[in-house]
């Protein structure tokens, strides 16, 4: 099997997949790419690009297997777990598995777009805005997805929708509160045992401690859980791949804010 994982800095979607790959024990080669340079849209050797062209998650990692681009961090984590014959990242019990999927979907639908918006505004908008016009035009032209291109353009233009920012801050608050509720019974990890739910939640929430600390003021259990996840060997190994001094401040355009409001 011919496979390579192209990834950004270990934060957001890239962090989930890098940590899952470490946990799986698979020896898939990893190739860091410059997401803010548009490298994800110029990857070599892709015969089936659909998952990049119409991916939901924005500038997440791309696993290329036998010429097919594979995206969406939760599904890539599931794929790696299953390819390894089950490395313990997914519960075996169908109901527990349903609970994990429901949790992950809440995170990817509600927290991820919110965290990506706030993270980009705080940490990457200035550098996207500073891309020279010709270079930005070339980058923009390489993005096949119209809606992802629009999110790049908004950051380049410095367009800020105050309602989206307020909604995103509320969604980060809600995510921290949901974690706090889940952890209230003293469990060590979100689903009890360590799972993809911890990886995906940590990957989008950990950076929010830096940008929106008020979300965590009334969430001591969540802060302690973030520290436990950060200490997991697979997360330590993924974070060690960073080129950025503070990978949790590294963001690239993410998923879209729900069109229905």
């Amino acid at each position: 099997m011919d496979a390579v994982l192209y990834h950004g800095e270990p934060n957001g979607a890239s962090l989930t997949v890098l940590a899952a790959l470490v946990e799986s024990g698979l020896d898939t080669p990893c190739q860091p790419i410059d997401l803010l340079g548009g490298a994800r849209h110029k990857l070599p050797g892709i015969a089936e690009p659909l998952a990049i062209d119409l991916g939901i998650e924005g500038e997440g990692p791309v696993l290329v297997v036998n010429g097919e681009a594979m995206t969406e961090s939760v599904f890539l984590a599931q794929y790696l777990d299953e390819l390894a014959g089950g490395c313990g990242l997914q519960p075996d019990d169908p109901y527990a598995h349903w609970e994990m999927l429901m949790w992950c979907r809440q995170i990817t639908e509600r927290l991820s777009p919110a965290a990506a918006l706030l993270g980009n505004l705080a940490n990457s908008q200035a550098s996207i805005a500073a891309i020279p016009a010709d270079d930005f035009a070339a980058l923009s032209a390489s993005v096949v997805s119209d809606d992802l291109r629009a999110r790049w353009q908004a950051l380049h233009d410095g367009a800020v929708d105050a309602a989206h920012v307020a909604d995103s801050e509320a969604k980060v608050d809600q995510a921290a509160a949901r974690c706090e509720d889940k952890l209230a019974d003293g469990r060590e990890f979100l689903m009890g045992d360590f799972s993809i739910a911890d990886l995906v939640t940590y990957s989008w929430l950990a950076g929010m401690e830096l940008i929106r600390p008020e979300s965590f003021v009334a969430a001591p259990l969540t802060a302690a859980w973030l520290a436990r996840v950060a200490a997991r060997p697979c997360v330590v190994a993924a974070l060690a791949l960073a080129n950025h001094a503070e990978p949790l401040r590294s963001w690239a355009p993410g998923p879209e804010i729900n069109r229905w409001g």
């Binding site: 939901i56 995206t71 299953e82």
Partner: protein, 255 residues
């Protein structure tokens, strides 16, 4: 007797997914019809089952499961019967990818168009005060916004244009996919087919300029194969509105 109860509307879009998955697996279930157009899903009897007021919901013993795609995955894993997820990990990834693409990107566009031309006009005939009270009972704020837009016809021209763009692009990509593989995401019938069929079965009627024998032969071949499944016929027989009649019209057109 059965331990499984499904609360659902028509065998269509989200409600149709767990109905079809249960039928394919051969799992008997008690059917509890929720009339979405009468706002049954926001009434106290149903909120006692699913406080979020979304349909479908499934109860199994003392457990309540929600979210149609996640319910399907549960049904496939929890019950004996034909396997509806591919054994190959990359095929399974592709099945999940297509379901997310439908659930989060293409489906909301189908539904914005459907609500604007079908659901909105249907419920708009009611007493405005009754409607306002019904909307106030919706537990999820996002759903309140969506219902208000549908009822008031508040979708902007740019929102509708974007939904039409996504529908046209999504249909074109589905056509390409079904040119590569027999079914969506793999060469065997799976949850992705159930998911996507439930939102595309009426395309030849609703979007004849985008989906037809001439324009999308792969989709038409696939629709015909899915239509002919026994589980699909038995599920469609549970429909109560003219959506079921549309099904037979499409059948006549493509078979």
């Amino acid at each position: 007797m059965t331990d499984v109860t499904l609360y659902h509307w028509e065998p269509n879009a989200n409600s149709g997914k767990p109905m079809l998955a249960l039928m394919e697996k051969g799992v008997p279930f008690a059917s509890h019809y929720i009339d979405m157009l009468q706002f049954d899903q926001h009434k106290p009897e149903y909120l006692a089952v699913n406080p979020q007021g979304t349909i479908p919901a499934m109860t199994y013993g003392s457990r309540v499961l929600t979210e149609s795609t996640a319910i399907m995955e549960y049904v496939n894993a929890a019950f004996a019967g034909p396997e509806l997820m591919p054994a190959d990990a990359q095929d399974a990834w592709r099945v999940r990818w297509w379901m997310k693409f439908m659930d989060q990107w293409l489906g909301p566009s189908f539904s914005m168009i459907g609500w604007s031309v079908f659901v909105g006009p249907m419920v708009r005939k009611r007493d405005p005060e009754e409607l306002a009270a019904a909307i106030d009972r919706i537990p999820l704020p996002e759903r309140r916004v969506a219902w208000r837009k549908a009822i008031n016809g508040d979708f902007s021209e740019s929102e509708m244009a974007e939904s039409r763009r996504r529908v046209a692009l999504g249909i074109a990509k589905l056509e390409e996919e079904l040119g590569k593989r027999d079914y969506v995401g793999s060469d065997a019938y799976s949850l992705a087919d159930i998911n996507i069929f439930n939102s595309t079965y009426s395309l030849p009627l609703s979007q004849p300029d985008l989906a037809s024998r001439e324009k999308t032969p792969n989709i038409m071949r696939w629709l015909k194969r899915v239509y002919e499944r026994d589980a699909v016929k038995r599920t469609w027989a549970m429909g109560k509105t003219d959506l079921a009649a549309r099904y037979s019209l499409v059948m006549e057109g493509i078979v």
